[in-house]
């Protein structure tokens, strides 16, 4: 028995902090079961259909049309909302004590957070795909490079909001958390220049908001960084915004996470 135990023991020190496909598979299956998923998937579609024809009179874009601009914005919004509501379900895991179970398992804390972010980003692919398909059918015109980069950036930018979701999920009670993502994300989306083209002072304020970075990066290949009024936002600034907000959300999430593993 001792030989068997020791060989099993050696195999137990799993690589990647315990992260494995089976675990991620169950994690994803749990999320797709939720009824809230319907909201996170339907809302972006409805918003896109409502907004893709609301172009301002002076709307001209170097590498596509206004529908492409709106598609990218809604894709960022949909991905971010899906990621937040998905990762905020960590509040259930905190309340149910599942986090303690995890703390007693071989899954390392960074591994656990990685699984959370990864599965939230996977979830975020669904609204991006839906909005992309709708865009293709409703007359989005854009170069191939715009199609690829805008949707890809919108999708991967969800990682920023997955970190925010983890923080919200750990900071708030499960009952409260259910209502949070929709409101917060919609407010951040208006502020981040996603739904209505902003200019002037509003644009100045917008530059510091969390969604501005990701949306500007996602639209850069379409707009070359220019707003419809001709104001320019540089690629570097958008990258700094994204990185800074990701760092801030991740820091808050990790700090909360460290506090949450104990019994109270």
């Amino acid at each position: 028995m001792s030989a068997a135990t020791s060989s099993a023991r050696a195999a137990r020190t799993s690589p990647l902090g315990g992260v494995n496909p089976v675990f991620i598979g169950y994690e994803l299956r749990r999320r797709f079961n939720r009824q809230t998923t319907i909201f996170t998937l339907l809302l972006p579609a409805v918003l896109y259909l409502a907004l893709f024809r609301t172009a301002p009179d002076d709307a001209t874009l170097p590498h596509g049309n206004f529908a492409a601009w709106m598609m990218t914005g809604i894709a960022v919004y949909g991905a971010a909302t899906a990621a937040v509501s998905s990762s905020a379900t960590i509040s259930v895991e905190k309340a149910s004590g599942w986090m303690r179970t995890m703390a007693l398992s071989p899954l390392s804390p960074p591994g656990y957070l990685f699984v959370k972010v990864l599965s939230s980003v996977v979830m975020a692919a669904v609204p991006v795909a839906i909005v992309g398909v709708l865009g293709a059918f409703t007359g989005v015109r854009a170069t191939a490079a715009v199609w690829v980069t805008s949707l890809l950036v919108a999708w991967l930018g969800a990682a920023v909001f997955a970190a925010l979701g983890i923080f919200l999920g750990l900071a708030l009670k499960p009952e409260t958390v259910m209502h949070m993502p929709g409101l917060t994300m919609t407010a951040l989306a208006f502020l981040g220049n996603l739904f209505i083209p902003l200019s002037g002072t509003m644009l100045e304020i917008s530059r510091y908001s969390p969604m501005f970075g990701v949306s500007t990066l996602a639209r850069y290949s379409l707009t070359d960084g220019y707003s419809f009024r001709g104001e320019h936002s540089s690629l570097a600034m958008a990258a700094v915004n994204t990185a800074a907000w990701f760092a801030a959300f991740a820091f808050m999430a990790v700090r909360r996470f460290r506090k949450s593993t104990g019994r109270g």
Binding site: R9, V92, S96, G97, P106
Partner: protein, 319 residues
């Protein structure tokens, strides 16, 4: 014998110890902002293969001690070693597994999904075997939220078995279970203990300690108040309760006598807890101090109440 003080911990570290707590202290701040010691200097060594019952009233520090033992909480003073190393390492490698009091499960998962999900973290674990061993084979498809308390506890037990642990820590595993569920649960644990697993369990139920443990450690107010084999603890704590109708001043006098460990007034009768019921009875009869006298043997539970109460008044263990 029952040691009243923490056992002296010898210097050499032997790998025969599964658990080694040395002068562990943990302080918390209560709601009024006052600091108090939930665990106040506990020394505890558990040898490999031992089955140890960890007893104490609510708030005695059992759960805090277990949390520190598992590396979930850090002690303010003292040290914790599992198999001669850091608790976190032993827990993460699966050498140590725990069944905690409550929670720890996801309500929306099925029983089987829970076992498989956690099993994926323990390479080489066998989810099917574990499900059978914990008696969950027929409940595979049931959602955790729809499981009874006893079924959920068996699930926690199944999860603990996944890594094939050498030490199993159970924190009041049968709290809230009915008699049948408790019996079934312990039958499953016993089977594993017989394979040589070290088991430490906290419990409220004396008969569980009585039936199952090799050794009993009682704590109260964050200190060890008794430590010994079940029979040692029981014989040292044996005694009877003598109750009678007694006048108040006589009762006060009797309470001061060495024959009486403690005294309580319930339903107009004085209940004297005594190590020598014969002598007390003789005294009551000869001096006509009491009427309607009854003598009842004391349960281990009452013994426990006495030991913790005396620990409380004397500020130290049982002599």
């Amino acid at each position: 014998m029952i040691t009243s003080r923490p056992r002296p911990v010898s210097e050499e570290v032997t790998s025969s110890d599964a658990v080694r707590l040395s002068s562990v202290v943990k302080r918390f701040t209560d709601a009024k902002g006052q600091r108090f010691s939930a665990v106040d200097g506990i020394d505890l060594r558990i040898r490999r293969g031992e089955v140890l019952a960890f007893l104490g009233p609510n708030g005695a520090g059992k759960t805090t001690t277990i949390d520190m033992l598992l590396g979930l909480t850090r002690p303010d003073e003292g040290s914790v070693e599992l198999f001669g190393g850091e608790p976190e390492r032993a827990v993460r490698s699966g050498r140590v597994a725990a069944v905690l009091q409550s929670g720890g499960l996801l309500p929306d998962l099925t029983v089987e999904a829970t076992v498989r999900m956690l099993g994926s973290l323990h390479p080489g674990s066998d989810a099917d075997t574990v499900l059978v061993r914990a008696g969950l084979d027929r409940l595979r498809g049931r959602r955790v939220a729809e499981c009874s308390g006893g079924e959920q506890q068996r699930l926690r037990f199944a999860l603990a078995l996944l890594s094939g642990p050498e030490l199993l820590v159970l924190d009041e595993p049968t709290a809230g279970m009915d008699v049948v569920a408790r019996r079934e649960f312990w039958a499953a644990v016993r089977e594993d203990a017989e394979r040589g697993m070290t088991v430490m369990f906290a419990t409220h139920y004396m008969e569980e300690a009585d039936r199952f443990a090799d050794r009993v450690v009682m704590i109260d107010r964050g200190r060890v108040v008794a430590d010994g084999s079940v029979s040692e603890v029981r014989s040292a704590l044996s005694g009877r309760t003598v109750s009678a109708l007694v006048r108040e001043e006589d009762a006060a006098e009797l309470t001061r006598s060495p024959l009486v460990r403690s005294c309580a007034l319930r339903g107009g009768r004085y209940h004297f807890d005594t190590p020598d019921s014969d002598a007390l009875l003789r005294l009551l009869v000869e001096r006509r101090l009491g009427t309607e006298i009854e003598v009842t043997p004391r349960s281990l539970e009452e013994a426990f109440m006495t030991i913790t109460a005396s620990g409380r008044t004397a500020g130290e263990g049982v002599r």
